[in-house]
């Protein structure tokens, strides 16, 4: 490809014009790739440095009533909780709310997708059919309030194959694992990652239950803490729904789901869920492998 994609830095262009290929694959993965007829053509990468704000909603702190007009609130998950005690005090939180923070999800997607498309642009500039062994992550950059999204992988060309016509495929897998996934009947399509965020503003019952002081309010001594349970289940569900929406009937293989909690202030918590995996397409029908031979190591 003579004219590279716009985003590609000059240095990358220079690197690609050289003869030798580079690959981030280990030797065993390199060997396995050659064995599959995949020839490494270059290590490709993509980055996006983003200003990462304090996750606050531009000044909209916890108000006095549940909000309804927050950005994206109309088409996101929102659940309200009302105080059952019927008492008014500045100490007593008469309402609580769980809501999806779409703007965080959007910003995250912007960062990830920019880095991803840059990596894929590099792969395309190399005339690759696919990118294997992808590594992804976000790192805070020193103390600058900047988060860098980075993706890296090894672009490969299929030996003796027609020139690539579409966007290259991508996968987190490399080497033997990729070979095995072909044997299992899966062809790689792309890596998929989604982040979803649910903010919890707790109400009195949640506060009391978490603090163990529910006994004062007779009926709330030992009970399930519904508001948090709702948020925790919802944030996982949202991530799965989002990923499912981009699968278009394909399979998500080797998924990894993790959820982190961050306390922003008293009674104010954010749950973030991250789900990533390989979107793969079944290209042949189920064909069981022979039962593996059990072994015991002699050492």
């Amino acid at each position: 490809m003579s004219e590279g994609p716009l985003d590609l830095p000059e240095a990358a262009q220079r690197r690609f014009s050289q003869g030798a290929f580079s690959s981030g694959l280990s030797v065993s993965d390199f060997g396995a790739c050659l064995d599959m007829g995949l020839e490494p053509v270059g290590l490709v990468q993509g980055f996006c440095a983003m200003h990462w704000g304090a996750y606050s909603m531009s000044g909209l702190g916890r108000g006095t009533t549940p909000f309804t007009g927050a950005p994206g609130a109309a088409h996101g998950y929102v659940q309200n909780y009302q105080c059952p005690h019927g008492m008014i005090s500045s100490e007593h939180r008469t309402w609580g709310q769980n809501y999806q923070q779409n703007w965080i999800e959007d910003a995250w997607r912007t960062g990830f997708n920019s880095a991803y498309s840059r990596m894929m642009a590099e792969a395309q500039a190399l005339g690759a059919h696919g990118v294997v062994g992808v590594i992804d992550g976000e790192n805070p950059l020193s103390d600058t309030g900047v988060v860098e999204f980075h993706l890296r992988g090894t672009a490969v060309r299929v030996l003796d194959a027609p020139a690539p016509s579409a966007t290259p495929w991508s996968t987190f897998l490399a080497g033997q694992r990729l070979a095995k996934s072909f044997e299992a009947g899966y062809a790689p399509v792309s890596i998929i990652t989604a982040v979803t965020s649910v903010r919890v503003w707790s109400y009195c019952v949640t506060e009391y239950l978490l603090g163990g002081t529910g006994g004062m309010w007779a009926n709330a001594g030992a009970a399930e803490i519904h508001q948090i349970v709702d948020a925790q289940n919802e944030v996982r569900d949202l991530a799965r729904t989002r990923v499912r929406a981009s699968l278009h009937g394909d399979v998500l293989h080797g998924a990894h789901l993790e959820v982190s909690a961050r306390e922003i202030g008293p009674g104010d918590v954010e749950f973030q869920s991250r789900l990533s995996g390989n979107r793969v397409r079944r290209f042949k029908d189920f064909d069981p492998l022979p039962v593996p031979r059990p072994t015991v190591r002699l050492s």
Binding site: I135, K180, G212, P290
Partner: protein, 282 residues
């Protein structure tokens, strides 16, 4: 379990080309078809395939249950409220997990990752795993869906040997360690003696927890609990209380008799460096 003889496999290289080019136009499964999601590794999935099972969906379940303030204050015997909170949170999280798995047409959930934490005022249990079923058999089993923290690999070996998992069993018990008299404490200060109060509390917690786990197993008509993991010791936030939690997968023989797996002896020439994972590179 008899495995159908497989036809000779095409060369890997041809298979890859076939997958990437000849099948490129193969229509993606129709939109209404439910996409499969799984957190299994390719090895685990191949293991499952070898016994005719497949992943269906990544499922999860979470529960938090409160422990009213004051339960950990000085007292005697078991802290029943805490033991109860643990049991309830576990059951609720499992129920959510199994409901999701059942809705997706799974027969069971394998490789359940269990995150558990006991705080002074609440217990937190979070479960994630992959629902699995025999290939293309979405019909639910009469006896319901099982959950197991065994890896897909262990599940495969268990099935090969003629056993089946029935569910997760857990037992927890939190017990006060009786306070020593001031005199005894001073006397023991400079001696190497057994702290009998702690030993006794530990014993009582262990017995109660194991008992509860066993009861759960019997309720599931299990004949054994494998891969039991225990956690024991004083509570970090209440040093005068000790806790014991036991957790394992309930199993029973699914066939007439146990089948020997007859392992082969191997000598490995690979050091740890070969177990490479591209994701650890960065």
């Amino acid at each position: 379990m008899s495995v159908p003889p497989t036809t000779p496999r095409p060369r890997l290289r041809d298979e890859v080309r076939h997958a990437l080019f000849d099948q490129a136009d193969r229509v993606t499964a129709s939109a209404e078809a439910r996409a499969t999601t799984s957190d299994l590794s390719i090895d685990e999935e191949l293991n499952l395939h070898s016994i005719g099972w497949e992943p269906v969906e990544l499922v999860s379940g979470v529960s938090l249950h409160s422990i009213p303030f004051g339960y950990w204050n000085w007292g005697q015997g078991e802290i029943e409220g805490a033991s109860m909170a643990h049991a309830t949170a576990f059951v609720n999280a499992t129920t959510h997990l199994l409901r999701e798995a059942g809705a997706a047409g799974g027969h069971g959930v394998v490789g359940v990752r269990i995150d558990r934490a006991v705080h002074s005022t609440f217990v937190e249990v979070s479960l994630v795993g992959t629902a699995v079923r025999p290939v293309n058999r979405s019909r639910r089993l009469e006896r319901g869906v099982f959950a197991s923290d065994l890896s897909a690999r262990d599940f495969t070996m268990l099935m090969v040997a003629g056993w089946e998992p029935l569910g997760l069993a857990t037992g927890a018990s939190f017990v006060f360690a009786p306070r020593r008299s001031m005199g005894a404490a001073i006397q023991q200060q400079s001696q190497n003696v057994e702290l009998t109060n702690f030993t006794e509390a530990m014993y009582s917690a262990r017995e109660a927890a194991m008992q509860r786990m066993q009861e759960m197993a019997i309720e599931m008509h299990g004949t054994g609990v494998v891969d039991v993991k225990v956690q024991e010791g004083p509570m970090s936030f209440a040093s005068h209380a000790v806790g014991f939690v036991a957790l394992g997968t309930v199993v029973r023989l699914a066939q007439a008799a146990h089948r020997l797996i007859d392992p082969t002896m191997v000598v490995a020439l690979d050091d740890a460096s070969v177990a490479f994972d591209a994701r650890t590179l960065s």
